[in-house]
């Protein structure tokens, strides 16, 4: 577990860089206050923890069935990329809510009302599924741990170590009160989404 935490602490900046394309456009696009962004960030990190634990599970499975898991990885990443792109496109292209929209939101179906709240969680989960170099290191360590609990704990510690670097990101939203920055965030979300969408499709197509 200590190994996982230290690994996360040492490589947190890299993880941050991997998650920023998803998180920053989202926080800027939402344009909420700092406390609200902390909630959003928590949801995102919760989703990311889910993704990491899934990786812990996968790492344990990989440890046992190394050859079998290899064929599933590429389609899984392709789906994760495309899903991420769709979520980002939702953020980028969704019409911004007008100031007096509370009544509209209240009258919406319950499932739809919950959907925006689930967005950061879903994005965090999909971002957590993305492979980055430190993640591969953690994956190797977890796969070698031999037990499911050991693998999950290593990824939990890895998550804690990397999450420290995410806290300052919540202050980004303070700037997003300005309508200009919200538009910038939306544009960036669409561009990043297009990149991931194309990457996902290419993965499905079997590379280049």
């Amino acid at each position: 577990m200590i190994q996982g935490f230290l690994l996360g602490l040492a490589n947190g900046t890299t993880c941050l860089v991997f998650c920023i394309p998803v998180l920053v456009p989202f926080l800027l696009g939402e344009g909420k206050s700092v406390p609200n962004n902390l909630v959003t960030l928590s949801k995102f990190l919760g989703g990311r923890l889910g993704g990491y634990l899934l990786f812990g599970l996968l790492a344990w499975a990989t440890g046992n069935f190394l050859s079998g898991a290899a064929g599933l990885q590429i389609p899984a990443y392709a789906i994760a990329y495309i899903g991420l792109a769709i979520l980002l496109l939702t953020v980028g292209l969704r019409a911004p809510a007008p100031p007096a929209s509370a009544c509209v939101v209240k009258s919406a179906p319950a499932a739809l009302r919950r959907w925006p709240a689930l967005l950061p969680f879903g994005m965090g989960f999909l971002a957590g599924l993305k492979i980055c170099p430190p993640m591969l290191l953690a994956f190797t360590g977890a796969a070698n741990s031999g037990s499911l609990l050991g693998s999950l704990l290593l990824f939990l510690a890895f998550f804690l170590g990397t999450s420290i670097y995410f806290i300052p990101l919540s202050f980004l939203g303070a700037f997003a009160r300005l309508p200009d920055l919200r538009i910038v965030g939306r544009f960036a979300a669409v561009i990043v989404a297009l990149y991931y969408l194309f990457s996902g499709i290419l993965m499905f197509a079997g590379g280049v």
């Binding site: 860089v17 920053v24 939306r186 990149y195």
Partner: protein, 393 residues
């Protein structure tokens, strides 16, 4: 007619007397000779010497007329367009001579053979600072591949301190293409452009910076640069590279040719370029700015309609300032019927002489044009070579 004449008579002129313009042009003649003559003497070719002399005389004539007529934008645009056209005229034959094609193979790219470009700067900075890796394996001069980033960084910082966002109308090697096509029609066919599009360059900047940091590749160069097609690009050897080349062609035709013609605006520069977005933040550390004298302004909004980079809006005009994206091209200054728009040095009185600020800024901008515009001599030389030998190589 009488009304127009009355307006014209009221308009303060930035024109200089001939003797004063000549006197102020002399230092530029010395600077240009200092910058360009060493290259000529090394060529050992009479054609190169003739090309150099013609280029030197040409650019100094342009500078003289810029000062004499007071029309900064008119002569800046001429020089800016010449530089943009000269670059591929020299660069593409050089690529063909050196690599046999303007298309780069993987071997050339990985060996650092691609030429370094200032537009890569936003993508390179974060990986260079965090991981100490230069993600664009390019060269600035064939002899100094490894120092290319450092040299380009120093030049970029120096230029940004000198002219700020003025880079985009005085220094950029590519902006002249937009400038050229935006001036082809007398009247725009598309007049109303949603103001939200002016934020796209900032969105593009944010996206390419973070994507480049995670992939450790210059994303803009690989996917979004419209000028790849006018300089060099990865050879389309598979589906991926074919799509990339296709995107370059579409972006060049759409953003640099068609939309500037239809709108009479520099669409690529004003609504797309992420380097311009980065540069606009550096406007804050530059001493020159363009202002509007509200006492003189008649609110005709001529400047709003003609600004090529969408750098003025109703609210900025009311405050007498331009937006941070102002490239200091002087189109609003040249075109203002009341002479209300003017160059200003930050920290000085708003009533200080606009002519002094203009001359100082024009000097800074023109010297940078000379530093980056050395291709003019080479392009002219290649034209002469084409005429005399039938080959530009």
């Amino acid at each position: 007619m009488a009304a127009i004449a009355q307006v014209k008579s009221r308009r303060p002129s930035l024109q200089l007397p001939v003797w004063k313009a000549l006197l102020l042009s002399l230092p530029m003649l010395l600077i240009s000779s200092f910058l360009w003559v060493p290259n000529l003497s090394g060529a050992g070719d009479s054609l190169a010497l003739i090309a150099g002399i013609i280029a030197l005389l040409g650019i100094n004539t342009i500078f003289f007329f810029m000062l004499y007529t007071g029309k900064t934008d008119r002569y800046r645009a001429v020089m800016f367009i010449i530089i943009a056209i000269a670059l591929p005229m020299d660069f593409i034959p050089w690529m063909i001579k050196t690599y046999g094609s303007m298309m780069l193979t993987d071997e050339i790219v990985y060996s650092g053979g691609a030429s370094f470009c200032p537009l890569t700067m936003p993508m390179i900075l974060i990986p260079a600072l965090v991981k100490r890796v230069i993600i664009f394996p390019g060269e600035l001069l064939p002899t100094m591949a490894h120092g290319a980033f450092s040299l380009m960084f120093i030049i970029w910082v120096a230029a940004s301190l000198s002219v700020g966002m003025g880079w985009c109308s005085w220094v950029c090697l590519y902006g002249g293409w937009d400038e050229f096509f935006s001036r082809l029609r007398r009247k725009p066919l598309i007049k109303n452009i949603d103001r939200r599009w002016i934020y796209l360059p900032f969105g593009m900047l944010l996206a390419i910076v973070v994507l480049s940091a995670i992939t450790f590749t210059p994303i803009y160069c690989e996917w979004f640069c419209p000028f790849k097609i006018a300089t060099e690009f990865q050879a389309p050897v598979n589906l991926l590279t074919s799509i990339q080349v296709g995107i370059f062609v579409v972006l060049f035709i759409g953003l640099v040719v068609v939309l500037p013609i239809l709108t009479r605006r520099r669409v690529q520069c004003g609504l797309f370029c992420p380097f311009g977005a980065l540069q606009s933040f550096l406007n804050k550390i530059n001493i020159f700015e363009v202002r509007v004298d509200l006492d003189k302004c008649s609110e005709c909004k001529q400047c709003l309609r003609t600004c090529p980079t969408f750098s003025l809006d109703e609210s900025s005009l009311k405050s007498g300032k331009t937006l941070i994206t102002c490239t200091k091209c002087s189109k609003c200054i040249d075109g203002c019927p009341k002479g209300a728009a003017y160059y200003h040095i930050k920290g000085t009185s708003l009533k200080a002489s606009p002519q002094t600020a203009r001359i100082l800024f024009v000097y800074a901008g023109f010297v940078l044009m000379l530093i980056f515009g050395g291709e003019i001599v080479n392009a002219l030389y290649r034209i002469f070579k084409l005429i005399t030998t039938g080959s530009m190589l």
